[in-house]
């Protein structure tokens, strides 16, 4: 069994004056609702051209009700104003600026939940990974 652990530390001495903020959380990524660790993943690097909308992850199979996690880091260094829009099926959820990262679950049970990114202000360089409960490669073309 594989073991994948994701931890986060969020801190600020001055966001809430008089109350220093220290959040720490750690999770071992498990397959759907059980105690077996995730054993499948894909990861990579990509450049997204300015104003180009790219599909980062395809729709999940509608029958797959599993646990999934996505990690994306915007590794652009040219200009701090560059960002990508993070979208689920054409709906913009947020802006991931140069230097920012995100880690969140993915709804694989929705056949219309492809993950898309659109680059704004310039070419954005991203690093991404998806940790999966299940994964079937696309069928070969006949």
């Amino acid at each position: 069994m594989a073991t994948t652990t994701a931890t986060v530390s969020i801190s600020s001495a001055d966001l809430m004056p008089g109350s220093p903020l220290n959040i720490s959380a750690s999770s071992t990524l498990m397959k759907t609702g059980i105690t077996t660790g995730m054993e499948l993943m894909e990861m990579g690097n990509a450049e997204v051209a300015q104003d180009y909308e790219a599909q980062l992850f395809a729709d999940g199979p509608a029958t797959d009700n599993g646990a999934y996690f996505i990690y994306v880091s915007n590794n652009t260094t040219e200009d701090s104003t560059y960002y990508i829009e993070y979208k689920i099926h054409e709906t913009v959820i947020g802006r991931l600026y140069a230097g920012d990262w995100m880690f969140l679950p993915y709804n694989a049970s929705d056949g219309d939940a492809e993950i898309e990114v659109k680059a704004l202000n310039g070419i954005n360089k991203i690093e991404y990974a998806m940790f999966k409960s299940a994964w079937t490669l696309p069928a070969a073309e006949s």
């Binding site: 600020s12 990690y71 802006r95």
Partner: protein
């Protein structure tokens, strides 16, 4: 100006070559990438004893189209239960547009959030109490309307 940093570390032996991800970001404003986010809704904890969906972040409290960050953690321990998390106007959270995903016991998420639509959640169980911890790092909070 406030300085808020977030660091992620992921380690895994899924592949033959061990995976290590380590990144730190400083949360900055949309309009000026040299100024840190200096507002927050505060760190909140909510108890759920039913599967009824609920809005945990009301978008009209936040400025639209900004670089907010949203942190959520399922503070329960059972990996058998989860919360649906959605970016959705109404309180629906499961199989709706757009369900972000499922957060099982102990799982956490940190994502960018534009503040244009509510964030809703729904517990998967009514027989076991679940707790959710969440916080918005805000790039503009709208003053309460009288």
């Amino acid at each position: 100006m406030a300085t808020t940093t977030a660091t992620i570390n992921v380690t895994s032996d899924i592949l033959n070559s061990p995976i290590t991800i380590s990144k730190t970001m400083t949360m900055m404003k949309d309009a000026n990438r040299t100024i840190g986010l200096d507002e927050t809704t505060g760190l909140r904890t909510k108890k759920f004893t039913a599967t009824t969906a609920a809005v945990i972040v009301e978008h009209d409290e936040l400025t639209d189209d900004k670089a907010h960050k949203l942190y959520i953690r399922n503070a329960s321990t059972s990996k058998a239960n989860f919360f649906y998390v959605a970016y959705n106007t109404s309180a629906a959270a499961a199989t709706t547009a757009e369900t972000i995903g499922k957060l099982y016991g102990g799982d956490w998420m940190l994502m960018p959030y534009d503040g244009n639509t509510n964030i809703t959640v729904a517990s998967s169980t009514a027989t076991e109490t679940q707790y959710l911890e969440y916080m918005v790092f805000a790039d503009g909070i709208v003053a309460a309307k009288g």
